[in-house]
Amino acid sequence: MGDFVLYKEDIDRLSKILSHLITESASSYVLLVNKDGNLISQVGFTPKIDVTSLAALAAGSFASTRAIASLIGEQEFSVMFHQGEKENIHISLVDEDVIMVLIFDDRTNLGLVKMIANQAKAKLVEVLLDIRKNEFSDTMPDVDHGQDVSNQIDNIFPDQH
């Protein structure tokens, strides 16, 4: 499992599929998250949502259900659904390393979301296969980048030693 390298082209391809997905399913937000908790792509309408945390928690949640699955002899659960009073979350496995998080409310229904998500999944898998062939085609501009990180932390936390 290597690093996840995304180019704009990949993001465009993913976004197009995801845009289609949320309009077709009338969902409000969709995230593609890899199982490490890194956000890959996102499309949607929900303002003020902490997508970074959402991605990390969704990945954690999915990982824990995977552990539950293994306890009962399943390899993993490919779909998770959390129902709320207004908002619902549908988490599904796209491929072995990527999950899709769909947020929707009562303006649509689970069946539709499931169906559309399934349709999108096949297309996403194709794109993700291509993304995995990506390589980091750039080097860091400076070998002292690590030092920059250290300095930057100093800048952010000026008074801490």
């Binding site: 180019y7 077709e24 980091f136 030092q147």
Partner: protein
């Protein structure tokens, strides 16, 4: 593993704080979270029990900002330290880029420390990693307590890999940031080492403490995070701004100004800094303790790698998306003035001199390369708008906080998308036939004031922050040669020929009701109304009205409707994803149209209305 997003120029690394229970992992994150300046503050997520013991993990995203053109983000996690939470502990380790092992220095905790360290090794092994390849920093915590092991003892007992180690009193913040800096540097240095071997210069990484002469030149000029053994105050760094050294793309198109340009040789040939280097500061750099140098797995080491053509941003600064380094207002660091968001279009003062323009040919904007141009014909989110040049939903490449969901900024003068229509070269072919009576000026969907899709309120590909203006993107494809057409006054909306507005299966989002939350209205259709009198509704210039004879109608795949529907003349639409939908098709699927009967329709039949409680 790290995630590298070229679209947003982001690198995201995962750092896990590991250690026995109650050693202070969560406290480390809490201190960091507390000290983050308010402007950069992000929420810390803590999945803890009622007694504040970590149950699953704590999570703190830390955005370091742009470093050499890459927005570097650390995702800090902690694990639950208690022994019986190993299942969840293992889950958190997935995809880790660096580990901070927090040691409880108390003498009666030694066994727990050792067990936890062994557990860390074992869990990493299950993911196919080992502490020889994952950067590790040790933090000897609770140094203020009386019954603690000395640092030397802990080094002998716990520090199996001779990793950099730091004393800390996490509860008071002592040593927390030193540790953070050390692990951050190690992770990025390893990242550098991994990706700097294009010309076969990748070198085996020395083991911790062993600093061969080859790695010595890479020693940082000032080592602010030397291991504090014995503890000593770290000299406060001068407020050096790393951005000050960043090359200004206008001042001189230095090779490094555009990382997508031909990779400059020096950056490849310089030996990478070893994550374990810290040679001058490492107390273990004792020649007596000679361990064989550890090597990082080096895929492609020794063989010249094909440097793949950078796909997206290499299209040049004029190709619709400007990488941050190509955009003077995004790349030049904090020192450069940035136009306020939503200001008037700011044509690039140097349209032909953008960095990278010499290396990468700057093509005319083409529909395929322009995110605002190419998409409409390929994807139409709203089938109810057949003639409207509705761009797709602006996709946000993984960049949280871009105000995509925000309502359109009131003073956005013209949509960059509409702007593109003034350019005859950039004409997008549409598969739609406009309905006979629906002229472009009368198209209700052309008024982007209430249409969050027509006028992306912020640059979806730009960096978050003060430059989130659509004109940053606009610069990309039509800097100066393509001035924005003046917007006609607000159109009178009629629905040309239709007695009633067509019921779109998914009606236009109504942003009024929910304060920016585009609301797929249940009432079928809401003609977009300018919700702010200051908003100028935009209509496309007359020349974009596409003559019907140019349109191709793909065959409709929907089953034949028994009676003609107003949607039938809209034809079908197809996006590149292969799904062909007709409006009839979608209207039939649409639950909303089924749910909501026409309120004016009268019940028929003898008992009609008798049992209707509404009456």
């Amino acid at each position: 593993m790290a995630s590298i997003n070229y679209a947003t120029r982001e690198i995201s690394c995962k750092i896990v704080y590991y250690g026995p229970g109650l050693s202070g992992k969560t406290t480390n994150l809490q201190i960091i979270h507390r000290k983050i300046p308010d402007k950069d503050k992000s929420e810390m997520v803590s999945l803890a029990t009622e007694t504040d013991r970590t149950l699953f993990f704590d999570f703190l995203p830390l955005d370091l900002g742009s470093i050499k053109g890459f927005n570097t983000k650390f995702q800090l996690y902690t694990v639950p330290g208690q022994v019986y939470y190993n299942a969840t502990r293992k889950l958190v380790l997935r995809g880790v880029d660096g580990v901070v092992f927090v040691v409880d220095s108390q003498s009666d905790k030694l066994q727990e420390n050792l067990e936890s360290f062994a557990n860390l090794e074992e869990n990493l092994r299950e993911y196919g990693h080992s502490l020889e390849t994952i950067p590790l920093v040790l933090q000897y915590n609770k140094r203020d307590l009386p019954n603690v092991y000395s640092v030397d003892e802990l080094n002998k007992l716990v520090n199996k890999y001779r990793s950099p180690c730091y004393e800390a009193v996490a509860a008071t913040g002592v040593g927390v940031f030193t540790t953070l800096k050390a692990i951050g540097k190690s992770v990025i240095d390893k990242f550098n080492a991994k990706y700097s071997g294009f010309q076969g210069t990748r070198r085996p990484m020395p083991a911790g403490g062993q600093a061969p002469a080859a790695a010595a030149p890479a020693a940082p000029p000032r080592a602010p995070q030397q291991p504090i053994i014995p503890a000593r105050p770290v000299t406060p760094l001068a407020p050096a701004n790393p951005f000050a050294a960043a090359p200004n793309p206008f001042a001189s198109p230095a090779p490094n100004a555009n990382p997508f340009a031909t990779p400059s040789a020096p950056s490849f040939q310089t030996p990478p800094t070893s994550p374990f280097a810290a040679p001058v500061a490492n107390p273990f750099a004792n020649p007596a303790v000679n361990k064989p140098p550890l090597t990082f797995p080096a895929p492609g080491f020794g063989t010249p790698l094909n440097i793949p053509e950078p796909k997206g941003p290499a299209q040049g600064p004029l190709s619709g998306f400007s990488p941050p380094t190509g955009n003077p207002f995004q790349s030049a660091g904090l020192g450069n003035p940035a136009p306020p968001a939503g200001s008037t279009p700011f044509p690039s003062p140097f349209p032909g001199q953008m960095p990278g323009a010499s290396q990468a040919p700057a093509p005319r904007p083409s529909p395929a390369s322009n995110p605002f141009l190419g998409s409409p014909s390929e994807f139409r989110p709203f089938p109810g708008a057949p003639t409207s040049p509705t761009p797709p939903i602006p996709a946000m490449p993984a960049a949280p906080g871009l105000g995509f969901g925000n309502p359109a900024k009131p003073n956005v003068p013209v949509s960059p998308f509409l702007n593109s229509f003034a350019n005859p070269n950039a004409k997008s072919e549409s598969t739609f036939a406009p309905p006979a009576g629906l002229t472009p000026a009368a198209n209700p969907f052309a008024a982007p004031a209430a249409n969050p899709f027509a006028a992306p309120p912020s640059n979806p590909f730009g960096a978050p922050g003060p430059v989130a203006s659509p004109f940053n993107a606009g610069q990309g494809f039509s800097p100066s040669s393509n001035p924005s057409p003046p917007s006609p006054p607000a159109p009178t909306i009629n629905y040309g020929g239709f007695g009633s507005p067509p019921q779109a299966p998914l009606s236009q989002p109504n942003t009024e009701a929910s304060g920016g939350f585009p609301n797929f209205s249940q009432s079928g259709f809401n003609p977009p109304q300018p919700r702010n009198p200051n908003l100028r509704p935009l209509t496309p210039p007359p020349e974009i009205g596409m003559p019907p004879q140019q349109q191709e109608l793909p065959p409709a795949t929907a089953p034949q409707a028994s009676k003609p529907s107003p949607f039938s003349q809209f034809g079908a639409f197809e996006d590149n994803s292969g799904i062909v939908s007709t409006y009839e098709d979608m209207a039939k699927q649409d639950f909303k149209t089924k749910k909501l009967p026409n309120p004016t329709e009268k019940k028929k039949g003898f008992f009609g209305g008798l049992f209707n409680k509404d009456k």
